[in-house]
């Protein structure tokens, strides 16, 4: 399956730019929507003209954190969508929390550009990605 549209919520500008480069040059996703914060999150998600195939959520975002955004999405038409956490907090218990909360995987920051295309293939196949690199 080819991923057509990705939604990425991230408050760190360099990280947003890295993701743009990854999407454009490494995995060739035609459409990337970026939210710089989680203000009016649900309204903005509902206002999207095209529903994203994959959602990437930073965890330390304000005002809603990654966990809250996840539950909002799951309750509003995103029950089956691949939602992956993107975080620099990769202590084991934090990964466990992400798993328990209902994420479909985690990608560690800094993103390993060499490994990312392989991870993305698996995400596109709706495989869970828990191997933290």
């Amino acid at each position: 399956m080819q991923v057509q549209h990705v939604l990425y919520v991230e408050d760190d500008p360099p990280s947003r730019q890295v993701m743009e480069l990854l999407m454009r040059f490494e995995v060739h996703v035609p459409r990337l929507t970026i939210f710089e914060d989680s203000e009016n999150f649900l309204a903005r998600v509902k206002a999207l003209p095209v529903k994203p195939d994959v959602v990437l959520l930073d965890i330390h975002v304000k005002p809603l954190d990654g966990f809250t955004m996840l539950s909002v999405l799951r309750e509003n038409g995103y029950a089956e969508t691949m939602i992956v956490a993107l975080t620099a907090s990769v202590m084991n218990d934090e990964v466990k929390r992400l798993e328990t909360a209902g994420f479909n995987g985690v990608i560690a920051k800094p993103v390993n550009v060499d490994v990312f295309p392989k991870l993305w293939e698996r995400i596109a196949q709706h495989e869970k990605v828990w191997g933290v690199v």
């Binding site: 360099p14 084991n92 800094p110």
Partner: protein, 496 residues
């Protein structure tokens, strides 16, 4: 009313053993039991004497009405009657003294008027002796008998003044008799008293001894009680001390746990804060090197590659410190999968190792057995172990070869990494697996944290395996890792 009744009963009881009439005659009041017996004696003597003398006086009056002797009789009867009444009223001392006086002195007094022969004087002396005896009987323990005896003897000695004695011998015999009997009575009484005294002394000594032993017993008891009290206090002190120590330990434990939580939180946030800028540093450099934003020259490529490598090294350091802190707090958990493929892991590790060798004359070889079984374990962590072993070998080997060999041995996978580096002296073999303890060579090399091997050892042990090494200084080293194919320590992590 009731009290009177009780007193009457008591009184009756005292005289119950006597015949009815006699009871009335000898009835006495308020004596102690010992004196009461003597009071009965006084009553008996005085009443018998009164009746007897009255009969005698009556007889004398009938036989010779002209005789004046009965006047003496009446005087003596009056004295006995007085004694009887005094005794009956309870005036014991007066009655007793009266009775003694009558016996000791009255017969002597009658000698003035009656016959003056030896028989009469002898009779009077005998009666006087009875007076001495009565003193002993009626006043036991007072030792008044000598007074009565002297009084009787003086009275007898004074007799010749009132009436001349017929002869000296007639005078002296009754006197000797009186003195001898009195002496005998006095000696007997004192002997008895001495015996009594001795008996009492013995008794008192026994009582004193008894009291002494009782006191000793009481003292011992008090001491025992004190001892028990003391040991109870001591025990309480020990219990208090124990309790204090326990509370202190609990507080120290709570402090340590708090400190540990703070440390973990600090490390987590630290790791997060360091990783976020590295995401930009490493990845922007990589994109520029790849030319996605336009062509760059060789010098720029080299410099940016160094930025990438340094960033990667910094990230490795952060990862190592984070791993070590997780190991130390016991919170490093494996992400266990059922079918870990060692072939791909080995290929990944060899690719990385080849890039680390660069252009040194080092040959990287592998000897990986075909048909290796799939492992139960943490894919990333096994890769991390292999990378640690290989990168260590690459770091220290300047020329020669590095060989990665993997084979199955019973229910274990045996991995070995051999190199032709400087080797490790035996003294350092244990040091290598301890955190923050690099060997001399490692320190000279100036790379790494010295955490790679300790982390690898912990990861191997978490998999239920073993890690060890063999080395000849100057020739090279071989590191071995034995991993169980299916460790009973592991179970597949849920949520996959």
């Amino acid at each position: 009313m009731d009290t009177n009744l009780v007193d009457l009963n008591k009184e009756r009881a005292r005289t119950d053993h006597l015949p009815n009439l006699w009871q009335k005659v000898v009835k006495v009041t308020h004596y102690d039991p010992e004196q009461e017996r003597l009071a009965h004696l006084i009553a008996a003597i005085s009443s018998v004497a009164t009746v007897g003398l009255a009969a005698g006086a009556l007889g004398l009056l009938i036989v010779s009405p002209s005789s004046t002797g009965y006047v003496s009789f009446i005087a003596i009867i009056a004295i006995f009657l007085t004694i009887y009444l005094l005794n009956r009223q309870g005036n014991y001392r007066a009655a007793a003294l009266g009775l003694i006086g009558v016996f000791a002195l009255a017969p002597l007094a009658t000698l003035v008027r009656t016959e003056n022969d030896l028989a009469f004087r002898g009779f009077a002396a005998t009666i006087a002796s009875i007076g001495v005896l009565l003193t002993v009987v009626l006043f036991p323990g007072r030792n008044w008998a000598p007074i009565t005896a002297i009084a009787a003897i003086v009275a007898y000695l004074l007799l010749p003044i009132l009436r001349p004695v017929p002869s000296f011998t007639e005078f002296i015999y009754p006197l000797i008799g009186l003195a001898a009997v009195s002496l005998a009575i006095i000696v007997y009484e004192n002997l008895g008293a001495a015996l009594e005294k001795e008996r009492r002394a013995t008794l008192e000594a026994a009582i004193a001894a008894l009291q002494a032993s009782e006191a000793a017993l009481r003292q011992a008891n008090t001491k025992l009680e004190q001892d028990v009290k003391d040991s109870a206090i001591e025990m309480q002190a020990i219990v208090d001390e124990y309790e204090r120590t326990r509370v202190e330990l609990e507080e120290a434990w709570a402090d340590a746990e708090r400190a540990n939580r703070v440390k973990s939180a600090f490390l987590a946030s630290m790791s997060h804060e360091l990783r976020t800028p590295l995401n930009a540093i490493i990845n922007f450099s990589k994109f520029v090197v790849r030319g996605v934003v336009g062509p760059i020259n060789d010098q720029q490529t080299e410099m940016l590659t160094n930025v990438v490598n340094s960033g990667q090294h910094l990230l490795n350091l952060i990862n190592d410190v984070l791993d070590m802190s997780k190991i130390e707090s016991g919170s490093l958990n494996l992400f266990v999968e059922n079918d870990v493929d060692l072939n791909t892991i080995c290929q990944d590790a060899l690719n990385t190792a080849q890039s680390l060798i660069g252009d040194r004359p080092v040959e990287l070889r592998s000897d990986i057995a075909p048909d290796l079984p799939r492992l139960l374990g943490d894919r990333q962590r096994i890769l991390q172990i292999l990378l640690n072993l290989l990168s260590n070998a690459c770091k220290f080997t300047q020329q020669g070869h590095i060989v990665l060999s993997v084979k199955q041995q019973a229910d274990e996978i045996l991995i070995s990494v051999s190199d032709t580096g400087p080797g490790i002296p035996k003294a350092d073999w244990d040091l290598i697996f301890q955190p923050f303890k690099q060997t001399e060579t490692g320190i000279r090399q100036g790379q790494g944290t010295g955490l790679g091997m300790p982390i690898s050892r912990n990861l191997v042990e978490l998999h239920g395996g073993r890690i060890w090494l063999d080395s000849v200084p100057g020739e090279g080293s071989t590191f071995y890792v034995a991993l169980p194919i299916r460790s009973s320590k592991l179970s597949v992590t849920s949520g996959q």
